[in-house]
């Protein structure tokens, strides 16, 4: 690592952790219904939502109703997003005249955005009309993030309340999250991004005359736009001269702001935040990076405030940070020092004049430190946006993002989903500790009994099952293998990464894999659905069960859960579960690739 690289990483961590407290405290006010400044600006809108949907905000719900309303709302979102894609050809705001999206791709994308995964099987600027980007994708960016945060808050209430039958009102949590947290942050952030050069316009794509016309081989196509093959079976080409550049633009900034803040990650353009119009400067890059983890980190503090002991929140945040920093260092070092193309006469050493390192798939303005930091942050949160191409990372550099996803997206994690996932691990951790000393485990004064253990085990076991079974099917079927871009071991990694990403609702990819096929659209779509709702529902069940319990007074045998000892225990449990489950699969992929490189 270079000195400047270290400086940039340290600066990022400091800002992230410093901002966690004020934002976390603000969010606690929002969820506890205490007065906030924005009440006066947006209060009318909140009341309008309730009136339009016939909701009584004071009426709280038990966990079953909370889960049911959450599922119904998400179902409505999937159906709307599907319909908009299928009908975009006949709908307005489509200056590039893009046709209907295929049924399997529409299903995949609708599920992908509703589950906060934002896996993208399609290329944004060549597939989605402006209207689809706004009404289907931007809207789901907001409400899928709000859904995750609502579920997390319901779980927090489960810990905080005693002998209670209800865990809050889903509509209220959804609405207040969207209006008072996500919308104002996105609004300001979008305008800052525009100032840096992110486009925001409804005009059609721009056309410019290039400075130096260049020759290229244009594929020859027949009248059905299919490539014509020569006698050797290779696509036929003819010499053509490029004189004009078509530059895709669009209402990008408004969507990029929420895709970063809401751990969504679905880019406006095909290459996501590597695109200069999506992430033009080091400042835009720093802010987009911060947005990836900021809400998830701050929610830990919100948790602390709402359970009445902020030390509990800091302990969870500390555990996340320990794992994050350790893996970040591995990724940066692998990308900076991996000896690439030395035999070809290439200079990859870092100096004052170049960042050096493995630059395939990376942008010069970000270099190694910011590309590796982004890869680590986007996969520890379930964001999945990218500013460099993970498929072109060195084997170990690529192992880091893949394993972070497989740990279950609990290192900061998705907004809301990261916290509730980590709290499941905390329950397992106190259970393990309880086994050691032979006492009934408790967390935050709540006895952890067999029902909670069953549910949290479900949460922790479902996604590894989806990943490993999905990958096995992918590597033995012809339809699965057809998508592989890089031959050999790396091809296996591409499939493993895809199923890890979808099942854990991340959305990033080893993007060489051609995943816009009926097989992958369907298989990954199902993984995303199960990986989201089969986790959220058991979490709500635990919330309901915990809310009903009394608080056990702290005794001599109680394990304190705010100490470095507990942080270490929690880190150990997360890593142990992640390692035991995935090391065999990783050994077949990136580890062998590294050893044979």
């Amino acid at each position: 690592m270079t000195a400047n690289g270290v400086l940039q990483l340290v600066f990022y961590m400091v800002v992230l952790l410093v901002l966690a407290k004020p934002l976390g405290a603000y969010m606690a006010r929002v969820y506890e219904g205490r007065p906030i400044v924005l009440d006066r600006v947006l209060g009318w809108l909140e009341r309008l939502v309730y009136r339009a949907s016939g909701v009584t905000p004071e009426l709280e719900m038990g966990w079953k109703t909370y889960a049911l309303t959450m599922l119904l709302f998400n179902l409505a979102g999937v159906l709307a997003a599907y319909a908009l894609q299928r009908l975009q050809g006949v709908l307005p705001l489509n200056p590039a005249a893009l046709g209907a999206v295929s049924p399997d791709s529409s299903f995949n994308t609708a599920v992908s955005f509703a589950t906060n995964t934002n896996w993208q099987g399609y290329g944004g600027e060549t597939t989605m009309s402006y209207l689809t980007q706004m009404l289907a994708l931007t809207v789901q960016n907001f409400v899928s993030a709000a859904t995750g945060m609502a579920v997390a808050v319901a779980l927090i209430r489960g810990f905080a309340r005693r002998s209670a039958e209800t865990i809050g009102n889903f509509w209220v949590d959804l609405t207040r999250t969207t209006l008072y947290i996500l919308l104002p942050l996105s609004f300001v952030f979008a305008l800052v991004l525009v100032s840096q050069g992110v486009v925001q316009t409804f005009s059609p794509y721009a056309k410019v005359a290039v400075v130096q016309p260049t020759e290229y081989d244009e594929p020859v196509t027949d009248k059905d736009a299919k490539p014509v093959l020569d006698e050797k079976g290779q696509p036929k080409t003819k010499k053509s001269t490029l004189t004009e550049q078509v530059i895709a633009v669009g209402p990008a900034a408004s969507q990029i702001a929420i895709k970063q803040l809401g751990t969504n990650g679905g880019g406006f353009f095909n290459v996501n935040s590597a695109h200069p119009f999506e992430n033009p400067t080091p400042l835009s890059n720093f802010l987009e990076l911060l947005a990836i983890l900021q809400i998830s980190a701050a929610l830990c503090y919100t948790f602390g405030v709402m359970v009445g002991d902020t030390r509990q929140g800091w302990a969870v945040l500390a555990a996340m940070t320990v794992i994050f920093v350790a893996l970040l260092v591995v990724c940066v070092v692998a990308e900076q020092n991996g000896s690439v193309f030395v035999k070809q006469g290439v200079d990859h050493t870092a100096s004052a004049l170049q960042s050096g390192g493995n630059m395939e798939g990376k942008e010069v303005r970000f270099g190694i430190a910011n590309s590796a930091l982004w890869a680590t942050a986007t996969t520890s949160a379930s964001n999945g946006s990218v500013n460099s191409m993970h498929d072109s990372f060195t084997p170990i550099g690529g192992l880091v993002p893949m394993w972070l996803i497989q740990l279950g997206e609990v290192i900061y994690g998705g907004v809301g989903s990261g916290l509730y996932g980590m709290l499941m691990f905390a329950i397992i951790a106190v259970f393990v500790a309880g086994l050691m000393v032979g006492r009934t485990p408790e967390y935050l004064g709540k006895k952890i009994e067999s029902y909670e253990m069953k549910m949290s085990s479900l949460v922790i076991l479902i996604t590894p099952a989806l990943v490993l079974i999905g990958t096995s099917i992918g590597v033995v079927t012809a339809a699965g293998k057809a998508g592989i871009a890089n031959p050999g071991i790396h091809g296996f990694s591409e499939i493993l990464y895809a199923f890890s990403s979808a099942s854990n609702n991340n959305g990033s990819a080893f993007a060489g894999l051609s995943a816009n096929t009926p097989f992958y659209n369907t298989a990954l779509g199902l993984c995303m659905l199960f990986g989201r709702y089969w986790l959220a529902v058991p979490v709500l069940a635990i919330a309901g069960a915990l809310a009903r319990k009394k608080i056990v007074p702290v005794g001599a045998g109680t394990l304190p859960t705010h100490t470095p000892l507990f942080v270490g225990l929690l880190v150990g449990v997360v890593l142990l579960v992640g390692a035991l489950t995935f090391v065999p699969a990783l050994a077949l992929g990136p580890i062998v690739e590294h050893l044979t490189w």
Partner: protein
């Protein structure tokens, strides 16, 4: 049950209007008013003609111009209507071969230059549209450009220095040279 279904549909409609219409439209209005240049793609207009965008690279392969990063977009490089990367792994023999080809092309265009080639000049960018190269990659090409344009090297060096952007606050990001702007400056000499 029915009340919940109604609530789901009605609230989705309201959120669609608020976050899917009002929010992007309001951001667009303010953006067009306050930052019209950036919001429309930072386009460069020369003599009434739009010649490019400062943020989007263009293909250059004449020895008289500075070359940018290799681009993996199809069917031609720097296709700003369809961004894309190679997604090739550094362990992939195809990538190693491409890198060798690019090194050979650079050497052929500048036979006297035997210095090792800066890595960003022979590896494809993430977007396929990277407008920048590293200062090292620019300095590597100064000799060739000066020779083919019959200019003094110090003049070309001066232009490169002028178009080199440092880190923000000396810390954030990486130093870089905007290839299109540099080439436009060369042409207008």
């Amino acid at each position: 049950m029915l009340t919940h279904v109604r609530a789901a549909i009605a609230s989705l409609v309201v959120f669609t209007v608020v976050t899917g219409v009002a929010y992007p439209v309001l951001v667009t209005l303010i953006a067009q008013l306050v930052f019209p240049h950036q919001a429309n793609g930072s386009l460069i207009v020369k003599g009434g003609k739009t010649v490019g965008s400062t943020l989007i690279g263009q293909p250059f392969d004449a020895p008289t111009y500075f070359w940018g990063r290799p681009s993996a977009t199809s069917p031609f490089g720097y296709n700003a209507g369809s961004s894309g990367a190679s997604n090739l792994s550094p362990t992939n023999a195809d990538l190693v071969k491409s890198v060798q080809g690019r090194v050979d092309a650079l050497r052929a265009a500048d036979p006297g230059n035997t210095a090792p080639v800066p890595v960003d000049l022979v590896t494809a960018s993430g977007s396929g549209l990277d407008p920048h190269i590293s200062p090292a990659a620019a300095l590597y090409q100064v000799g060739r450009v000066a020779k083919t344009r019959k200019l003094d090297e110090s003049i070309v060096h001066g232009l490169v220095a002028q178009h080199t952007e440092g880190r923000l606050f000396g810390a954030l990001g990486e130093p870089r040279v905007n290839v299109l702007e540099l080439n436009l400056a060369l042409d207008s000499r």
